[in-house]
Symmetry: C2
Subunit: 246 residues, 2 copies
């Protein structure tokens, strides 16, 4: 009986995966549940254990289950952070995409700040304020300054209380850390950038505090636009001399 029956159209990996997907989607397997052991699963479905492991591993990278060593496999609460892995791979392979990714980041942040205006609580405000202060303190340090900048922007997204936006943002932020850093090095070349960085971020902060989505969005967009402009000038070699060598 080598022919596959109608009831198990798939074979091997697909069979196990489909079996589990079915229960997962139907709800008979809920987060927190522990799956039967790999051995049981293999005999139950008539496949070998390595195949079962493939399926479980597949579900693991999808963030659906968690394989706990010597404990068992349990269904986890779906976590959007899986997307991080995917985007990291996906976006990494297209280096020319950096500018493109930046656009997506702008998209996420502008939406996030709108939501933040509605949803932010005291803790969010405090986090933003701390990040803002940090930006001022570290304005002359390339590394710490870049991190403070990043923290501020992340605080905005966190304040949106949207997990999806947060995950999307953080996965892109990873790719943009490089550009973030190199941008920060521009501060040396463009002393006027200090004011831009501090004032812009404060204005953004104030707009959120005022819970004014339109103003927050617009201010944030302008912030990004000015950053672009600085980078453009850096490329062109138009170094800022107005208050150079402070």
């Amino acid at each position: 009986m080598e022919l596959k029956r109608a009831t198990d159209g798939e074979k091997g990996f697909e069979k196990v995966f489909a079996f589990l997907r079915e229960r997962l989607l139907a709800g008979s397997l809920k987060p927190g549940d522990r799956l039967i052991s790999e051995r049981e699963l293999s005999t139950l479905l008539g496949v070998s254990r390595p195949i079962v492991r493939e399926a479980l591993r597949a579900l693991t990278v999808l963030g659906i289950v968690e394989i706990r060593d010597r404990i068992g496999t349990v269904v986890t609460r779906p976590d959007v952070s899986v997307l991080n892995d995917f985007f990291t791979f996906a976006l990494a392979q297209q280096a020319d995409m950096l500018d493109d990714v930046m656009q997506a980041r702008v998209a996420i942040e502008c939406q996030a700040i709108r939501l933040a205006c509605e949803r932010a609580n005291i803790a969010d405000f405090e986090r933003l304020q701390r990040a803002l202060a940090k930006i001022g303190e570290t304005i002359d340090e390339a590394d710490a300054g870049g991190m403070a900048d990043f923290d501020f922007h992340r605080a905005i997204v966190v304040a949106s209380h949207s997990e999806t936006l947060t995950v999307l943002h953080s996965s892109m932020a990873g790719l943009l850390t490089h550009s973030h850093r190199s941008r920060r090095e521009l501060v040396q070349a463009f002393p006027s950038m200090k004011n831009y960085l501090i004032d812009d971020h404060r204005r953004i902060f104030e707009a959120v505090i005022a819970r004014d989505p339109e103003r927050a969005d617009a201010t944030l967009r302008k912030h990004f636009a000015i950053g672009d402009e600085y980078r453009r000038r850096a490329v062109v070699g138009d170094i800022d001399k107005t208050s150079a060598s402070g």
Copy 2:
């Protein structure tokens, strides 16, 4: 020599996965490349073939590579369909995620339409116009209407000429189709929705034609907001009677 050396901190699966991820992220493995065979990989990394298969399968579900039967494993261009899988699972167990993802969609589209205003070419305009016409033609059909609606919005994103935004947007398509469809069924309950759908989309189209990012963004946001409002009223049971039973 059972002890693991310092060079391979991970063991088994992690080792293989990390090995491949490294080359994938570094770019030494590009889409189209064929990996060395599973057997070679296993001897190379000092692990068994089942383990190698686990890693390859993991990359497969992430859409990074494709295992071709009796051919080999090749690096693929990252495919968003993976995210579809994920969202399908995730939504099955966490319906509240839908709203969250919707926010991300709004983010992507609003940014996309801004870019579209700058970058759209004649072909994009034509595509938008066709989609717009289709919306008018299929206004009374739930299925075709929903698809036309979706096509229009996708055309906007495509017109942004941003690969990343397109990827993000289409990755959420799976979810959106559901909500799209159910929203479309509201058309029966809300006859006034027909005008909303047609007029709104036309206004959006016109804003893009006029290459006015601000207006396009604002119009699109209003479009989404009105859609939300209709859904809210549907939930509350506030059925539209002004021009009911047309």
